[in-house]
Structure formats: C-alpha cells, structure tokens
C-alpha cells in the first residue's frame, strides 16, 4: 500500500477544490448572465423592429417619399439597418444596409406572412435579423441588428469571471497551504520529537501553549506519556542499581572468606580443594558481573554524572593502557601514535575513559589472543583510537550485535574456558557515546578485529 502524503492531499484538496468550485461558480454565473443578456437584447431588438415596422407602414401610407429618410434616421439613431421589400423587389433600404444579410429563407418565410427572428453569423459578425410582414401595405420589413457590442460585453464578462476564478483558486490554495501548515506541522513535530526520544534524548518535550485546542491536547498527552515513560525507565534503572548495590556487602564477605579458605587450602581434602578452586573462579566472574552491572545501571540511571575534563588524549591512552595491563596481569600492548598529530585534547570523564580502554584490552586478551597495538590518529576533527587484536576478527553479521548487552558471539562460544560477563563492550559503547563519540568494529590491517573509537577533538596543540 503506497502511503500518500497528508500534506499533499490537503493541499490538492484545497487547491483543486477551490479551483473547481470557483470555476463552477464562474461558469454558472456566466451562463446565467449570458442567457439574461441575450434574451434582454433580443426583446429590445424585437420591440424596436415592431416600432420601426409600424413607422414604415404609416410613412408609406402618408408620405412614401420619406421612406428612405426614415430608414436612414433609424440607422443613425440605433445603428441597425432596415430594409423594405415589396413583391420581391427592394423598395428602400438604409445607407449601410446590405441585402446579403437577409437570407432567402427569411424572405420566403416573411413573404408567406410570418414574422421571423434569427441570430446568425454573417462573415465573422454575429447579427440578429428580424423580419416583419406588413400585409396592409404589401411590404416586408427586415431589420438587421449588430450584436458585436453584446459579444464584447460577454467576452469581458467571461474574462472577468475567469480571472476571478483563478484568483479564488490561488487564494484557496494559499488557504490550503496555511491550513496544511497548521495541521501537519504539529504532526511532524511530534514524530521528530518521538524520534529524538527513541534515540535517547529523554528530556525532549513538545512546546506547550498552542493556539489550536486539539494540537494542545496532543502536545500535553504526548509530554505526559514521555514523562511517565522516563519515570518508569529511571525507576527500573534505579532498581537495578539498588539491587547491585545491595550485593556489595555479601560479595565482599564471599571474596574475603574464599581468600581465607585459600589460606587453609592444605587443610582440605582433594575434593574440597577442587571445589574451592571452582568457587574462587566463579566468584571472580560473579564479582566482575556485579561490577559491570553496577556501572551499567549507574550510567543508565544517570546516577553518577560524568566529570568531564579536557585532557591530553595521548597521555590518557598511555595511562589507561598501563593501568589495564597491570590490573589484568597481562603484557602492555604497544601504543603507536601517528606522525604529526600534535597533542590533541579530548573532553572526557577520566575514569570512564580508562574503563573503556581497559575493557577493550581485556576483551582482546580474552577472545582474540591479545591486542597487537593501540593506534592513535587524527581524522579531520576527530581523534581515532584503534585497538587492533591478533584474533580472527569479528564476523560481518555480528558487527552491530557485538556491542549489545549480554551478547556472546561465536568467538565466546568457541573459547569455552574464558568466560566474560557479556557487558564489557556494551559499557564501552555507552561511555563512548556519553563522550559524544562513536565506536565501530571492522577488520584490522593485521587480520584481526579493529575496534575504532572516534572522539571529537577539542583543540589541537602543535608540538
């Protein structure tokens, strides 16, 4: 089903509607007026013809010599031509009269004793020919009226009405545009706000105080819905955070007592020792999980605001790598700084940044034979930090999923022993996004996976 644009539909309806209605109105008006004008003209002309015929009759009877003068004076007064015929011979006619205007059919009918009228086209001009027989003087009077005045009037009328229809259509269309904007724009605003909210800008609200009642209602309902949703989200996040928080103390006890047991390991039987080993191993995983969950839920709930500082990216990377290596007891991967990038600064929360690097290095160690190198470069106005590992890379279809919470890709399943929480990369992405950056995974030049962080550079200092 093809979706049509509401905006377009409204506009077309308005524009077309206005056009059609105004055209209809114009046409009907024109028709009515035309009919009226023509019939009026005809009435007037007919009446004039009768009067003139009577005049002809009386003139013929009293002083036939004055007939020509009469006809000429009629022509002068009314611009219509009069012709008088008797016994098939033209008796007299006004100066500009042309016998061609009177058709033989008219002559024949009038001669047979019937008065006639006809509107016809004579050589491009419309004329109205009236024929009146006067049997008492054995003559036939024909009067020829020029209708070009009428024609011109009708033309003018048609033009004016047409112009009026066009103007009305334009007004209608602009009215349509106005209405469309008023009704469609709020809808667009709502969908835009909804998109923003879906993207994570949870403080987005629609502007209140609109002129139209329905739009106001929509705005208020929408805002209310969003607020409630956000509240619920926050509640959920706080719940997760609270739960994780409560786990701290028992975990501390568990860890410490496990250590104590380790101290007295020799007192245990072999079964006991094996169990202790398993306990200690899973305990550490449990601890990591709780730590990760805590961190995640804290950032979700916005409980701990970031402490953003402008720091030297290179120094930060070095520190983080060192810290990561020491924390996990692994060799420090080399840090390669690209030539000539100076000392770019980034705006980040130091601890979270360290966490990001730590997680990536740890991830490389766990699933991909360790990180080959961390390569730092500047691309345009962005700082790129590439963590390249020695593994077999991330399969193409997992490039997006790998950053999702609790996602265990094929690599994790392949290595049955090393188990992670599934939250590491998700945390990395959350933090990177909080810094206004992006993280993607692709293939590294060495064949393994490359995790690339892009962060906006604040200011660059040349060495």
């Amino acid at each position: 089903m093809r979706r049509r644009s509401l905006r377009l539909r409204l506009l077309v309806t308005f524009g077309l509607g206005a056009f059609i209605l105004s055209s209809l109105f114009a046409s009907l008006t024109y028709l009515g007026v035309k009919r009226l004008l023509i019939s009026q003209q005809q009435q007037t002309d007919l009446r004039q013809s009768y009067v003139n015929a009577a005049l002809v009759r009386s003139t013929l009877y009293s002083s036939p010599t004055e007939l020509s003068d009469l006809l000429n004076s009629i022509q002068k007064a009314t611009a219509s031509n009069v012709l008088v015929q008797t016994h098939n011979q033209w008796l007299a006619r006004s100066n500009r009269a042309s016998t061609l205007d009177v058709s033989s059919a008219t002559i024949k009918t009038v001669a047979s004793g019937h008065a006639t009228e006809q509107t016809l086209n004579a050589g491009g001009h419309i004329i109205f020919v009236v024929g009146v027989p006067i049997p008492s003087v054995e003559t036939q009077v024909f009067e020829v009226f020029q209708l070009h005045n009428l024609e011109r009037t009708l033309q003018l009328l048609a033009f004016v009405l047409g112009l009026g229809a066009l103007f009305t259509s334009l007004v209608g269309m602009s009215g349509g545009i106005w209405v469309t904007r008023r009704t469609v724009r709020p809808l667009e605003e709502v969908s835009y706000a909804a998109a923003l909210i879906a993207d994570g800008a949870l403080t987005t609200r629609l502007q209140v105080n609109r002129a139209d009642r329905e739009v106001q209602q929509l705005t208020e309902s929408f805002n209310q819905m969003v607020s409630q949703l956000v509240q619920r989200l926050e509640r959920d996040a706080r719940f997760a955070s609270d739960v994780s928080h409560e786990l701290r103390s028992p975990l501390t006890t568990l860890a410490t007592t496990a250590s104590v047991l380790q101290q007295h390991r020799d007192d245990l039987s072999s079964a006991g020792q094996e169990s202790l080993d398993l306990l200690v191993a899973d305990l550490s995983i449990f601890q990591s999980l709780v730590e990760d969950l805590l961190e995640m839920s804290r950032s979700d709930a916005g409980a701990v605001p970031l402490v953003m500082e402008t720091l030297s990216a290179i120094e930060l990377v070095h520190q983080s790598v060192r810290s990561a290596a020491r924390r996990h007891g692994i060799d420090e991967p080399p840090v390669e700084i690209a030539e000539g990038i100076g000392d770019p600064l980034v705006l980040v929360d130091r601890r979270r940044f360290e966490r990001v690097i730590t997680n990536l290095v740890d991830n490389a160690h766990r699933y991909a034979e360790g990180a080959i190198a961390l390569r730092v470069d500047v691309q345009g106005r962005q700082l790129a930090i590439n963590v390249d590992d020695a593994g077999s890379g991330v399969p193409g279809d997992e490039h997006e999923q790998v950053f999702e919470r609790f996602f265990r890709g094929r690599a994790a399943h392949d290595r049955g022993i090393a188990r992670g929480t599934g939250l590491g990369l998700a945390l990395v992405r959350d933090h990177v996004r909080a810094f206004g950056g992006t993280i993607t995974v692709s293939e590294s030049p060495d064949g393994g996976a490359r995790f690339q962080i892009l962060l906006p550079v604040v200011q660059s200092e040349q060495p």
Binding site: H245, L247, R248, S249, P250, L251, T252, T253, L254, A255, T256, T257, A258, S259, V260, Q263, H264, S284, Q287, V290, E291, V304, V307, S312, I314, E315, Q319, R322, S323, R326, R327, D343, R350, R351
Partner: protein
C-alpha cells in the same frame, strides 16, 4: 608483627577480614563502630587502620579525622560507592588510600603491606619554598613566624620526592610508585587529590600554583 585496626560494622565482612589478616600473620583489632575503634587504637597503638565509611553513629570520615589527629598511621578507607566525591572526602579526612566494595582481598592485602613497608627517605637537604622553610629530616614545614604546617606523612613524602627530582616533572604512575609503593593497583586520583591538598597548604594562591605545577602530558613538578 604488625598490628592492624579494622573498623567495620558488617559482622560478616569484619570476621572474614580478621580471619584473612590473621592468616597472613597480622595481629588484628576489630571494632564495629568508630567510637570503639578509636578507644581500641588509644589502647593498642595499631600500626595501620582500615576504616569503612558507612558506620553507625560516628561516621567513617569522623573516625578517620580522629585517628589522623592522634597519629601518623596509614589509613585505608573502604567505601561502598566509587564516587569521586566520597573518595576525595575520605582522603581529605586524612586517609592515605581507599578501596571500594567488593574488593579483591589479595589487592587489599598487597596495599596494606605496601603501606606498612617503610620506604627509605631520600636524603634531601632543607630548602625554601617561597617564604616556607622545609626540613625533610625533621619532617617539618615551618612558616616565617615559626608555626609549623601540619602535613601527613604521605603529603610530606610527595613534596620531598618532587623536590629531589631537581625541578623535573614526575608522572602520576611514578609518583604512585615512589610515594605509595604500588606497581599494580594505583589510581591516579590519589595523586591528584594529594597534590590539591598540598597546594591548599603551601601555595599562596592554590588556584594558580607557582610551586606545585602541573605539566601537561607528563605529571607534576616542584619549582623551587
């Protein structure tokens, strides 16, 4: 045999800690509240203290202050939160270090050992810092009118370490190693907070330091 004071209100954790440290050869005095802890310290003169921040009654911060007021012993605070604010407050109260729950017990052990290890003082002669007179051998900083500025041993060690480097900058990692003795578990925040505390004490205008200067890209240096 080192004597260690543990102030922790959670019974289980306190017991587990006691067992662990005793297993490592320490003599442990454990107290459930701050008041009891201070009383114990006064009687036993512990070599080191581990204090939980969340205590009923007298708070961990107050306990820290009291202990610090009485002695120079290394104090490690334990916190359930990782907030920078909490950490800073704890360090400002006189603690030398902090860990967050849940901690890795081995880490705590290593830190405690590191703190107890007396690091050989670098023999530095007395020097002037503006109008302050610093005498490392006596561990004293004197103002022109003779009053002594009170610095914790950690702060003093930090100052003298930087001084002995002849105006060259030291990175945070290096400072952590030299002053706190950590190879592994250092958090550079420790360094930053201590530097700030030092500045508050010795700089004429702490906001614009002239002695303890930040070197971007490296760390800190002391300008004499």
């Amino acid at each position: 045999m080192s004597r260690i004071l543990i102030v922790e209100d959670d019974d289980h954790i306190r017991t587990a800690l006691r067992l662990m440290f005793e297993g490592e050869g320490f003599i442990v005095d454990d107290a459930p509240t701050g008041e009891v802890g201070i009383a114990m310290f006064n009687r036993m003169a512990s070599d080191m203290a581990i204090v939980d921040i969340m205590l009923p009654g007298m708070s961990g911060f107050e306990t820290c202050l009291a202990l610090r007021g009485a002695s120079d012993l290394p104090i490690v605070i334990v916190s359930a939160r990782d907030d920078t604010a909490d950490v800073v407050l704890g360090l400002e109260s006189g603690a030398d270090d902090y860990v967050t729950k849940p901690f890795v017990p081995e880490e705590l052990l290593a830190r405690v050992r590191a703190h107890l290890r007396r690091r050989p003082e670098k023999s530095t002669g007395a020097f002037q810092l503006g109008n302050l007179h610093v005498i490392p051998d006596e561990g004293v900083v004197r103002e022109p009118d003779g009053t002594e500025l009170h610095l914790t041993s950690t702060e003093f060690r930090l100052l003298t370490d930087l001084a002995s480097n002849n105006g060259k900058a030291l990175s945070r990692e290096e400072l952590l190693e030299r002053v706190w003795g950590y190879d592994y578990f250092g958090d550079s925040r420790l360094v930053d907070v201590h530097i700030r505390r030092l500045r508050m004490k010795i700089e004429p205008d702490p906001a614009n330091p002239i002695f303890l200067v930040t070197v971007r890209g490296t760390g800190y240096k002391l300008v004499i």
